[in-house]
Symmetry: C2
């Protein structure tokens, strides 16, 4: 990034902001200026929010979620169905499912998907811990909520194979037309899956 | 923003990140997760960079630039031409001109442009200070580097009128075809300006 006419502290702030996903060098400069202009309203709160997050955030020892309590709020929530575990690749997926409010289950965050090309093998994920949790007699169903990509689906197959001797039903998310989606814009694979899994109207 | 299954510290971090220009709720969540995953590599440095910036950044009392010294590094740079002052609306414009390395002058940051619709009048900008600086006998030229918008150009006219009794030449940036630009995509106003200001080849 070219040097700007400002002190090293500002340069450093811009460089760090530019590392965030969604921000490049140009938008990092805009964000830095915005922060400097809103020093009391935004910069100070953000600095202390980062500090607080640094100090308090932990990774849940049960499911791999991030939270400021350990085990996390989901795992300790007595109102959650203890018989279902929803397997997700990433905390972002857990958040997405929670926003959908579609289920009231517990989660298991794998920490990624199997990806031989990127050197991600079973030992890099929390698959062992999942198999252990699946053998808990209270658990009846494992819902594989993994991306519908090659890596996501091969991870799903791998986990299903490992769970064959556990007393659980293994399910996966339905494929089909996204709600609000137009058929015209959908790929053939999704359309074929939607036809195969058609439901009575 | 819907509640996510994480502690209040994480929620607060996401809410603050979502206020940055270029980040919405979704990219703020991604940025927060990224920060949490890179706790030592990015989150801690960003927290301390914000803290350092908070403590050190000042607004230059001469030109309105932001820097960690006051007067700023540009104003105190003895190698800069003291006879030229480049008037910009915002620190972002100053940075853009510095990146272009097109001049070796000092600046004057107005803090915005006149905008009756947004309630921005002359007293909201540093126009008085600019007029004072323009009366310094060392200053020979005022370059108005303002946006080629209605507000930018009316600000330029307003400043030019105020400077009529100062012993300075008032100039503005040239209009024309952007370097690398294609004529086909240019608006008529720019094309007409480029024709009017054509130069010998």
């Amino acid at each position: 990034m070219p040097t700007i006419a400002a002190g090293p502290e500002i340069e450093r702030l811009i460089q760090l902001l530019a590392l965030l996903p969604g921000l490049g060098p140009r938008s990092a400069r805009r964000a830095a200026l915005f922060l400097i202009k809103k020093r009391e309203l935004l910069m100070a709160p953000l600095a202390s929010a980062l500090q607080a997050a640094m100090e308090k955030i932990e990774i849940c020892r049960v499911c791999g979620n991030i939270d400021t309590q350990n085990p996390c709020a989901v795992c300790t929530d007595a109102r959650r169905e203890p018989s279902m575990i929803v397997v997700v690749a990433d905390v972002a997926d857990l958040w997405a499912l929670e926003r959908a409010r579609a289920l009231n289950a517990r989660y298991h965050v794998l920490g990624g998907t199997l990806s031989p090309l990127d050197g991600v093998g079973p030992d890099d994920l929390t698959i062992d811990a999942l198999v252990k949790r699946a053998h808990d007699p209270a658990v009846k169903e494992i819902i594989l909520a993994l991306n519908a990509t090659v890596d996501g689906q091969s991870t799903a197959h791998y986990i299903t194979d490992l769970l064959h001797d556990a007393e659980v039903k293994v399910t996966r998310l339905a494929h089909g037309v996204p709600v609000g989606g137009e058929l015209d814009y959908l790929d053939e694979g999704t359309l074929a899956a939607a036809i195969r899994s058609r439901t009575p109207f």
